[in-house]
């Protein structure tokens, strides 16, 4: 079957997770008070960002390391690094 939603898509992937996040929301207050759209929760292709009422939950384990959140955050509020060498997503095909 071809996938129907993001959960099924992410399930196809292999990740070698680090124990420490390579993505950091610098100031959760900015998300809460200045960013009504919380647009990172929309455009992130892996649904890494989820707003939990008072803070941004960052599911870095499923990150594709594309860089969109760093560039797309309207407040430059995301510190973006690469996961430690050999960690993170492992594409096997394309």
């Amino acid at each position: 079957m071809s996938t129907k939603n993001i959960e099924e898509k992410q399930y196809l992937l292999r990740f070698k997770c680090d124990t420490k996040s390579h993505l950091t929301v610098l100031d959760h207050d900015i998300c809460m008070t200045q960013c009504p759209d919380k647009i990172c929760t929309v455009f992130c292709p892996a649904e890494v960002y989820k707003w939990e009422g008072t803070r941004m939950q960052v599911g870095y384990e499923g990150c594709h390391e594309c860089g969109s959140c760093r560039i797309g955050c309207p407040y430059q509020n995301i510190k973006w690094e690469y996961p430690k060498g050999g960690h993170g997503i492992v594409f096997r095909l394309a």
């Binding site: 071809s2 929309v42 390391e65 050999g86 997503i89 492992v90 394309a94």
Partner: protein, 431 residues
């Protein structure tokens, strides 16, 4: 490892590997650093590799490289909700050597390609992140890695660290990119038996087809979708500029599912099994976004230098060619024993005299024009579909009257003057 190399290349994608290969062949001592588990583990593209620039590096590579299918047909779809206007070209001269382009799966291809650099003498180290360039008196003299005692030194550092190129940003070669300078693209690899692919796309074995899809594939936003045939799988993907994605509040994976369920697309992929889902940014800022590409002891190649021609879906070939030009400049610099910016600027000159920058210059205003005037994707694609439907529907109306009606409908919707303006503006952007 405080060893010193002639060249350190950061990133084993097409640009970095090409540069490593060309330098190693000339006897230079090359260290190629890759952050993934293997070259290709972090690398994504839609899937078309052009033959010409690859062959400059490895003659007749198609005889041994892990390729999918040589492309014999390129289709272009202007798609509306329940219709499509299509055109394309199929030519069997592309089915025989030396071919024009191939579909490839990057994880396989990049490993094979990097191994060619290793065979030529380059040292490849995987699973290593370069965290910063080591700069001394304004000269890049090496890199810092995330390994213990991970400083390594070289006469020249080649930044082939991809679209995000944190390293060239660290050096101040460019500022952070704007959301309209990058395209966020997602794709799936969908397994399908070879016979089904051949039947559905009208192909013989070892023949491939590519379809670029405009219009409703991005819900009228600035971007494209694609459907490419591999040996026993399809690559289907869609992307728009990140700015369009933000403005339209699109979830990229929902856009992909919308495409997969589109009535013009779904019969082609029906029964397929998803094998992988991938997201990546494409540097699409074009000519105006190309950063400084040469500094003291450092050059920038490939996606890191924003070398992508989005209109012609060329990128990996430009990456390879830029890697080769950088290698030639480095070899010359070594002969002079001078690794200053003015010495390495011969790479910049070669790049700007090549098809790469000339092509980017040709389309320098295209992305900006189509972003600023969304009517091309939002209005003209549906209009083309309506016109084709009207023209080809036999209902007793004389053809000359039909033509008049079609023109009248077009100009009624947008106004004669605006239509003429739109045509002129689009022509100017791509001429």
């Amino acid at each position: 490892m405080s060893e010193k190399f002639d060249v350190i290349v950061v990133g084993a994608g097409p640009a970095g590997t090409a540069c490593s290969l060309a330098c190693a062949r000339q006897g230079l001592n090359v260290l190629l650093i890759e952050r993934g588990e293997y070259p290709g583990a972090k690398n994504v593209m839609g899937g078309v590799l052009y033959r010409q620039q690859m062959e400059e590096l490895i003659p007749e590579f198609w005889k041994e490289a892990p390729l999918e299918r040589p492309v014999v047909e390129q289709r272009f779809w202007m798609m509306d909700k329940e219709s499509v206007v299509s055109f394309g070209y199929k030519g069997l001269e592309w089915a025989v050597e030396p071919y024009n382009n191939f579909t490839v799966l990057r994880a396989k291809f990049d490993q094979w390609f990097a191994n060619k650099a290793v065979e030529a003498g380059a040292l490849l180290i995987n699973e290593t992140v370069v965290t910063e360039c080591i700069v001394e008196n304004g000269q890049v003299i090496g890199v810092r890695t995330d390994r213990p005692d991970g400083d390594v030194y070289a006469d020249v550092v080649v930044l082939a660290d991809g679209v995000n190129s944190l390293l060239s940003k660290q050096l101040g070669f460019h500022k952070e990119f704007r959301p309209d300078e990058v395209a966020l693209t997602v794709m799936e690899v969908i397994n399908l038996p070879k016979e089904k692919i051949n039947d559905r796309f009208n192909l013989a074995d070892n023949q491939g087809c590519t379809i670029e899809i405009f219009g409703d594939s991005t819900k009228g936003n600035l971007g494209t979708a694609f459907l490419y045939t591999n040996k026993e799988s399809l690559n289907i993907g869609v992307g728009t500029t990140l700015s369009s994605m933000i403005k339209a509040k699109l979830k990229p994976y929902e856009l992909l599912d919308y495409l997969k369920n589109h009535p013009m697309v779904s019969p082609l992929i029906a029964g397929g099994e998803s094998a992988e889902y991938l997201a990546h940014l494409i540097p699409e800022g074009g000519f105006h976004s190309v950063p400084k590409v040469a500094g003291n002891g450092v050059v920038v190649v490939g996606d890191a230098a924003q070398l992508v021609n989005a209109i012609h879906r060329e990128g990996s070939n430009m990456a390879m060619h830029s890697g080769l030009l950088a290698a030639e400049a480095i070899i010359e610099a070594k002969k002079r024993g001078d690794y200053s910016e003015s010495s390495l600027n011969s790479y910049r000159e070669a790049l700007y005299n090549s098809f790469i920058i000339k092509d980017l210059e040709k389309y320098k205003d295209a992305a900006h024009t189509f972003e600023k005037y969304p009517q091309y994707f939002k209005e003209y694609v549906p209009m083309m579909n309506q016109a084709a439907s009207k023209f080809f529907t036999v209902d007793g109306t004389p053809k000359r009257d039909k033509q008049k009606q079609i023109i009248k409908n077009m100009t009624a919707e947008r106004g004669t003057l605006r239509v003429l303006q739109d045509i002129y503006r689009a022509w100017k952007a791509v001429k």
